[in-house]
Every structure is written in structure tokens, then in C-alpha cells.
Amino acid sequence: MESREKTDIGKSNGAGGPATRRKFFGATLLGTGVLGAAAAAFGGLITGLLQPLHRRQPAGADDTGTGAFLFVTRFENLPEDGTAMRFPVITDPVDAWTRYQSRSIGNVFLRRVKAGTEPVDRMDPSMVAAWNARCPHAGCTVNFRRQEMDFFCHCHESRFLADGSLPGERSHSPRPLDSLEVQIRGDGEIWIRFQQFQVGTPEKKPLT
């Protein structure tokens, strides 16, 4: 570009003198201005389009899904027979400019493990199994079937055993249900570290 401009200047010098030069500078100025403005506007558009790639969570939004433990329910509410139950995960999520109050950000399945054993230790986190209710196959919500004692997804007929694992025969999901960390606090309060994971991949990759 630069070199061509130089030769242009040279030419105009030779051919027409100051008038042509003024014209040339005017044209260059105008051209640069228009090009610059267009580049800036276009750059703005591209930056805007790519914004989700580098957007930081707003301050205090840590509780919207990743990292923090959230209260889900109490231990007594889990059926004694080992049936898995779906619970909403309630928090105060932020969506762009809106902060919601006590709104569900997803669902978890909770289930008593070692069901039927006595005595029941309500403070032992290993007594409770927790999974994200989203199917790791394509992201639909799975259901627990009491008769079959398994998890079933209506979208693509993925099936998981009661412990969240894949059944021996072929399942549609590339990995087992996404288990979640459990903490028991106070007098049998179940707290879950709620996370979303990349669906459709064999490895369980948390989304940030």
C-alpha cells in the first residue's frame, strides 16, 4: 500500500502540480476516513459477535451454576426404597442484566444408596448419590422409571442403570449420567455442587 502511494505521489507531482496534489490528498483523506470508519464499525460488529467467547461472569454470579454448593433438599425426603427423585436446584441466577430470585437453574436426581440398611447415617455423604438430570447424550432431561429401576431419556431412548452407569447392552449415551459432589450439612441438609457438563462426548467435561 505504502509504496504504491509513494509512486502515486511521484506521478501526481510530475503531472499536475499542487492542484492535483490537493485533490489527491483529499481523496486519500476521504478514502482513509471511510475505510477507517467501516473497519471500526465492522470490528465492532465482529467483537460483539465474538463476545460470548471471552465474556466474564458478572461479579457474584458464582452461584449460577459452577463451583458453589447449593442446598437442594433434606435427607428425609429421599425415598427409603432407593427410588431416585428429581429436585430443582434453586439459586439466584443472573442473566445478562437480570438477577432472578430463587429460580431453578437445573435439575438433579438424588437417590439413597445402600437403601434399606440400618441404621441410617444421615450425615454420611456417601449415603446419597446425585446426578445432573440432563442426559449426557444430547441434553434432554432423563426420567427415573420406578418399575424398571432405571433412568430413561425420551429423546433418543438412552438408558442408565439406577447407579447412573451405562447398561451392559448398547446405550445411546457416550458416558454415564454426570454425577455431582454431595455434602451433608447441619441436620441432614443435602448440598450439591451443581455443574453442567459438555454433552455428547465420552469424557465428562465441565462447562465454565
Partner: protein, 640 residues
């Protein structure tokens, strides 16, 4: 037949356009212009017409027509649309129900986009079959493909805009699948979604894609096609190959026929939604409930043009999933892109046609399979009906004005919507609601507590006070109270009554049911009851206390420390019910004699809000409530 029509139109439009390249030949056209009013459009058209008045050109005319319809209806919709989580569904509701012709405009917009996709597919197939896909080195075909891609993209993005359950969940799953694609998948999904989880920014972004970026891109492609077309004609003319222009009549007729078929298809596709989709009106499918990311929407399905991919996912389990999501669509794209290149050779063209036909058959077969699987699946149909009812309910509630928190919050506070869910989840393992779990399914556990349909209404209390019903599984047959004091009382004191006492009992029932203040028993309301009814109620209260001695065990109106049975003051009212559900073992209610019912509030199983919703639902105290169908239930006089 068509030939005859063409001849007729030809007669009418006068002499056919003369041959020669566009706009350059003066004489004959000028002469024609004086004779025929149609010659100005004829000259314009003449410039555009491909070598023969082909069906392909007619399809291009219809594609342009559809694009025009979409643009006009789209602008009309845009006047009212508001992209944010708290206003998208709401504004589409407004368009559908409050804007003059809004339902029709949205219907045309929605259905035209579907028909346009079909039309472009047919045009692509036509190009292959007529061997015109090699035209201008395949450029024409590629531009048509670009057009197809843009229309598809715009349509997919547009589906999210109403922010209803269907749009939300199909987008949610589509983005999840996109993000699982290798290499650029996650980045693409992020750019398309705008925010994760989907929210305000997904809607603003989709709006920009749908209304701001795609239409100019489509116009750009159309202009490019026009330019190529003109160049192509000029080149041919320069090369001395005179394009044999078709008669104007031909062009008009074929374009007219295709356009009419297109319009008919738009009209009929609305009918198809009514026949196959159970829609009540012609137009875009009825709004589903407002998008609820926390809900379970098991009937999420992709749009019809992706149904085959959805179905193919079922055949690639586990780690092979990528074959269905990336490999097959990728290979198909490559094949289509290679078609014009291979098509230059005779055998390549044959291979294109054969493979293309095979692929089309497979796609059609998979789509049909996916459709029929759902069509015959009972569970799916029940869930679909539930989703549609929720949508209708949301619209019904919205007609009364949507609160500023939005339609989702509105629906979350609606007892009619929430009651069945809560009842099925927390009550139906013991109780029933008219024999089912509130949602229409029969629970696995046998019934062990009373059926609460029309609880505390006159017919319900009538049943309660009959020995055979009290001790039946419908009432207290499955509880400890089967052999309790109440059962004894009914057996000893309420059977074999004389006429006078029977009348007295009827009055007691009326008086007790009046305590509930049920919205569907306005005739018992103190404010709207007749003189005669008020007298009956007053008399019933007397009988309740003195004749039958209910107050021996129950507390009624006067404080009674010794009461052992549930309070009868306000029996079945909202306060009574919420108190009872909160803790049935409270001294006011069963006290120590409570059987198995948990204290839903005190044991923090349910929140106060949830209990309130349940109570309102059991009392059928909600907006736009029809009267409960007693005659169709077991509460009818001779029912059991």
C-alpha cells in the same frame, strides 16, 4: 392440457418476444410495445429469462415471491416483537391475540418459511435432474445452496424467538449437539447461543441473525445470481449462440402455475399442522408454554427437516454418536458440493443422480420412521397433549394481563398448572384425584387415602358420610380410620335415619360444605346465597351441633380444647387446607391420631407457596375455572 393453456395465454399476450439478446434489439420489440401493453414487463422479463421458459425459472420467481412474503410479514411482526426473556413470549402472545390479523401474519410467516425450504430443495433437485447444475461452472448451483443454507439458518434461529418450550428446547439440544462437534464446535455454539445458559443475550443475538444479518445476505446472493445470469447470457450471445427465448406466455404461465402451487402449499401446510399436529386453527403452531429451562420437556423434537438426523442419532450409540452428528452431515455436504464437478462427466452425472436418489430415499425413510415412532407412542402423545394444554393455559391466563415478572412467573403461580405436578409428585402415592394422580396417570402404589377430587364439596361430604363409601378404598378404607370412631359413628348414628333426620343430615352437609367457600359452590356463599339457602345452612349448623353431636369430637366455631378430630370451622377452606397439609398432626386436626400423612411444611417437604398452590388446586380456586364435572366422576349420586 397445459399446452392448450399456453396457447390460450399466447393468443392473449400477442406475438411472442422476438429472439435476440436483451434490450439491444430495437425494431420488432418497439413495434410490439405499441400493440401490446404487456410488452414492458415482457422486455424486463426477457432480460431475465433463461434459455427456455423453464420450470426452473418459474421456481426462482416463486422463491422470490416467498422471500417477498417473508419480508413483508416479517416487518409486520417486527413492529411488535420484543427480544428478552421477560417479553419475547409475551410479545408473540400479543401478536397472536391482540394485533389485528396478527395470527394470520405470523401464520403466513411461519408456513411460508417451511414452504420456501421445500421449494429450494425442489429447485436444487430440479437443477440436478435437468443437468443445469453445471451451469457457469456450478456457480449457479452453489449460490442456490448458499441461499438454502441461509434460509435454513434463519429459520432455525427464528424458532427460538417466541421463547416457548418448543423453541427453547429444540434450540437447547441443537446447540448442545453443535458444541459436541470436534474442532470448532464449542466456539460455534458459544457464538450462536450468545450466553450460557440461554437467556436475554441469546434472544437479542437471534434477533440480529434473523432480522438483521440473514436478509441482506440473501439479497446479496440473489443479486449475485442475477449478475451471473446476465453475464452468462451476454457470453452466450457474444459466442454467437443465440439463446432461444421462450414465449412470454410460457414464462408467465409456468411462473403463475408454480406460484399458485406455492401459495396452495402454504395454505395446505397450515392444514397439515391441524390434521397431524392437532392444531385448532390455521397458522403457526400454537404457542407452547413460556420457556422454562428448569422444566422437563420430553417431547423436544427438531424441525421436520432435521428429523432424519434426529432419527439417525438413535442408530449410533455411545462413542459412535459423532457419526450421526458430524460424519454423516459432513459427508452429505461434501457430496452435494462435489456434484457439479462430477456432473461435467456423463458417468459422474449418472452417479450423482443415483446416489442423490438413494440419499433422498434414506432421508425420507428416516424422517418417516421418526414421525411414526412418535405418532404411535402413547407416552409421547400424552406428554405432547400436556405441553399443548400448558401452552393454551398460558395464553388463557395471559389474556388477563401478564404480570411484569413475565409469563413464566405467571404460569408458576397458577394452581391449575402447578397443582397436578405437585399432587402427582407428593400426594398421589396415597391419595387420588378422581381416580388418577392429578395428571391423568394411575400411580403404581395402591390408593391408601381419600380421593380429593372436589374435596369438601356437597357431593364429596355426602359420600364421606355413607358407611359403604367411608370404608371404601376411595375414602378412608386404606387408613387407620377405617375402623375408627368416625366409622363407628356413621354406622351407629347415621344409618337407618328417618325422613326428618335425613333432611337434617342433608342440611348439615350443606352447612359444612359452605364452610369451605368453594368457588364453584357460589350458591352456598353467604353473599350470593338465597334466603332459603341461608335458612338451610343455619338449620344445618344447629343440627351439626345439637342433633348429631359432631362437636363431641370435632371443634366447631367455639374453641374446644378436648377436640380429638379435625376442626370443622372453615372445613375445606384455604386456611384449613394449607394448615392441614402443613401439619395434619397439629392438635387442631388429627393430633396424635394422625395416620401416615407427613407434615409437609414442618418437615420442609413443600414450601408455603407450594402448599398454597396445592390447596388452591384442590379447591379448584383458579382463574377461568370451569365447574368440576361431578356427574362424570365417582361423586355422582350412584357412583362408587
Amino acid at each position: 392440457m397445459i399446452r392448450l393453456l399456453i396457447n390460450l395465454v399466447r393468443e392473449w399476450t400477442g406475438p411472442a418476444e422476438s429472439h435476440g439478446s436483451a434490450g439491444t434489439d430495437g425494431g420488432p420489440t418497439q413495434a410490439a410495445a405499441e400493440r401490446n401493453l404487456l410488452s414492458i414487463p415482457a422486455r424486463v422479463l426477457h432480460f431475465w429469462v433463461p434459455d427456455r421458459g423453464s420450470w426452473g425459472f418459474a421456481m426462482v420467481v416463486s422463491i422470490l415471491g416467498c422471500f417477498g412474503l417473508l419480508t413483508v410479514s416479517g416487518f409486520a411482526l417486527w413492529l411488535f416483537y420484543s427480544p428478552s426473556v421477560n417479553s419475547a413470549w409475551e410479545s408473540v402472545f400479543f401478536i397472536e391475540n391482540r394485533v389485528a390479523f396478527g395470527h394470520w401474519i405470523r401464520g403466513i410467516h411461519y408456513l411460508t418459511s417451511d414452504v420456501l425450504i421445500v421449494l429450494v430443495i425442489i429447485y436444487l433437485i430440479y437443477q440436478v435432474l435437468s443437468h443445469s447444475y453445471t451451469r457457469v461452472g456450478g456457480l449457479w448451483f452453489y449460490l442456490t445452496l448458499g441461499l438454502f443454507g441461509l434460509i435454513l439458518f434463519s429459520s432455525l434461529v427464528g424458532l427460538l424467538l417466541p421463547w416457548d418450550q418448543q423453541g427453547y428446547w429444540s434450540t437447547r439440544i441443537r446447540l448442545d449437539i453443535t458444541s459436541s462437534l470436534p474442532v470448532a464446535g464449542p466456539v460455534m455454539a458459544k457464538i450462536l447461543s450468545g450466553s450460557e445458559p440461554l437467556g436475554h443475550l441469546s434472544l437479542t443475538r437471534s434477533t440480529v441473525f434473523h432480522m438483521g444479518l440473514v436478509p441482506p445476505a440473501i439479497i446479496f446472493i440473489l443479486l449475485a445470481m442475477a449478475g451471473i445470469h446476465a453475464l452468462d447470457r451476454k457470453n452466450r450471445a457474444d459466442a454467437g449462440r443465440q439463446p432461444s427465448s421462450a414465449a412470454l406466455a410460457d414464462i408467465l404461465l409456468r411462473s403463475g402455475v408454480v406460484w399458485m402451487v406455492t401459495l396452495l402449499a402454504i395454505f395446505l401446510s397450515g392444514g397439515l399442522h391441524m390434521v397431524l399436529g392437532g392444531e385448532e386453527n390455521w397458522g403457526a403452531p400454537h404457542l407452547k408454554g413460556p420457556a422454562d429451562p428448569a422444566s422437563n420437556y420430553p417431547i423436544a423434537r427438531p424441525e421436520w427437516y432435521f428429523l432424519w438426523l434426529f432419527q439417525s442419532l438413535k442408530y449410533f450409540p455411545g462413542e459412535m454418536m459423532i457419526i450421526g452428528t458430524a460424519v454423516i452431515p459432513g459427508m452429505l455436504t461434501l457430496f452435494i458440493l462435489a456434484m457439479p464437478i462430477a456432473g461435467r462427466h456423463r458417468w459422474g452425472h449418472r452417479a450423482n443422480c443415483t446416489i442423490g436418489l438413494f440419499v433422498l430415499c434414506v432421508i425420507a425413510g428416516l424422517s418417516l420412521k421418526a414421525f411414526l415412532t412418535d405418532y404411535w407412542d402413547e407416552d409421547y402423545n400424552i406428554q405432547r397433549e400436556t405441553a399443548m394444554m400448558e401452552g393454551r393455559r398460558a395464553v388463557q391466563l395471559a389474556t388477563d394481563g401478564i404480570p411484569p415478572q413475565g409469563a413464566l412467573a405467571m404460569l408458576k403461580q397458577d394452581p391449575m398448572t402447578r397443582g397436578p405436578e405437585l399432587f402427582a409428585a407428593h400426594c398421589a402415592s396415597c391419595h387420588r384425584y378422581n381416580g388418577h394422580d392429578g395428571q391423568g396417570l394411575i400411580p403404581e402404589d395402591p390408593q391408601s387415602a381419600p380421593d380429593l377430587f372436589a374435596f369438601a364439596s356437597v357431593p364429596w361430604i355426602e359420600k364421606l358420610l355413607q358407611q359403604s363409601h367411608f370404608q371404601s378404598g376411595r375414602m378412608f378404607g386404606g387408613t387407620e380410620f377405617r375402623e375408627g370412631e368416625m366409622a363407628e359413628f356413621i354406622e351407629e348414628d347415621l344409618s337407618g335415619l328417618d325422613d326428618e333426620d335425613t333432611t337434617a343430615l342433608t342440611e348439615v352437609i350443606t352447612a359444612l360444605s359452605a364452610q369451605a367457600g368453594l368457588p364453584y359452590q357460589t350458591e352456598l356463599d353467604a353473599e350470593s346465597a338465597t334466603e332459603q339457602m341461608l335458612a338451610t345452612i343455619a338449620s344445618g349448623r344447629e343440627h351439626l351441633v345439637y342433633t348429631f353431636g359432631c362437636v363431641d369430637c370435632h371443634e366447631f366455631e367455639l374453641p374446644d380444647e378436648d377436640a380429638t378430630a379435625p376442626l370443622l370451622t372453615g372445613y375445606g377452606s384455604k386456611d384449613w387446607l394449607t394448615g392441614f397439609i402443613a401439619n395434619p398432626a397439629h392438635p387442631k386436626f388429627y393430633g396424635d391420631s394422625n395416620d401416615r400423612m407427613p407434615a409437609f411444611l414442618d418437615e420442609s417437604i413443600l414450601t408455603e407457596e407450594q402448599i398454597g398452590l396445592l390447596a388452591d388446586w384442590i379447591r379448584q380456586d383458579w382463574k377461568f375455572a370451569p365447574a368440576p364435572d361431578i356427574a362424570g366422576s365417582w361423586l355422582k349420586p350412584d357412583g362408587n
